[in-house]
């Protein structure tokens, strides 16, 4: 084992543990913190693979923005705590499917790449990533930017108060609870 591999195993161990605790923990806030662990370990793996820019993007967007967003929505929805309220009745089956897929994936990966395959990460400079995006992937980049805009507008439209329903009285059955809440 090279030093890179030793570092990787430690990081991956921590990340896997975080991932598993994320899906099993009884407390939603703890789950969010375990998500941070898992995401940070992925960022560290990017660093090991010498994908520096990607690693910082991961930290900024995932750990910085998405987790905060998730925590906010946990706060807003007053998520309860406890196994019974957080997990449904099909835990056993879910476990079976997950383990089955894990086994299948490990088998496939071992089968296909077990023998060959060492990789020596070459440091990639951020400028290379930029050149690649703006030379080879300009169109996907533009499409993604439109997607982001659409998501932004969509999120605002979906989540804002439904004033129209209040004015007209239509949608009363769906908006009723929200309406009384706001009124009170």
């Amino acid at each position: 084992m090279s030093s890179q591999e030793i570092a990787f195993v430690i990081i991956a161990g921590a990340g896997s543990l975080g991932a598993i605790r994320l899906v099993t923990s009884k407390n939603v806030v703890h789950a969010a913190l375990y998500l941070v662990v898992a995401l940070a370990s992925v960022a560290a793996v990017y660093l090991i693979l010498a994908a520096e820019f990607l690693a910082w993007v991961q930290v900024l967007i995932y750990v910085g923005a998405i987790v905060v967003l998730l925590l906010f929505s946990l706060m807003l929805t007053k998520a309860p705590i406890g196994r019974e309220t957080l997990d449904n009745q099909q835990r056993g089956m879910a476990l079976l499917v997950a383990v089955g897929i894990l086994g299948g994936l490990v088998y496939l990966f071992q089968d296909a790449f077990g023998a060959s395959s060492e990789l020596n990460p070459q440091a990639t400079r951020t400028v290379d990533v930029g050149v690649s995006i703006f030379r080879d992937f300009v169109l996907p980049f533009e499409v993604v930017s439109v997607l982001l805009l659409a998501a932004l507008v969509g999120a605002v439209v979906i989540a804002r108060k439904d004033e129209w329903a209040e004015q007209t009285g239509r949608g009363a059955d769906l908006g009723a609870r929200g309406g009384t809440e706001r009124a009170g």
């Binding site: 591999e5 991932a19 395959s117 982001l148």
Partner: protein, 102 residues
């Protein structure tokens, strides 16, 4: 030097944990978190294979960036929907949201 299967196994673990979370969690926010986990597993694979194939265009990394962007959009919309559902039904348990069932 690092062997490719190490990375792949790590991503497989993340992915399976995500699948378990999606299937076993009732809370919609936790389901979204699990989906993030699965997307990250895919990203790890993308970057690992990109590095393995020594791709000059850095396709793996660029696509990982795109996936992150799409994931951010997905979380934004997903959480907006969750909040809306909570506002209307005072629950975000996915097994209780079944109005579309006929």
């Amino acid at each position: 030097m690092i062997r490719l299967p190490f990375l792949l196994f790590f991503s497989a673990v993340l992915f399976s944990a995500g699948i378990y979370g999606v299937l076993a969690r009732r809370n919609a926010v936790l389901v979204l978190m699990s989906i993030e986990l699965m997307l990250n597993a895919v990203n790890v694979n993308l970057v690992a294979f990109g590095s393995f194939l020594q791709d000059a265009a850095l396709t793996g990394q660029v696509f990982a960036l795109f996936v992150i962007t799409v994931a951010a959009a997905e979380v934004g919309i997903g959480l907006a929907i969750v909040i809306l559902i909570y506002r209307n039904r005072e629950t975000i348990n996915v097994d209780e949201v079944n109005l579309l069932r006929w």
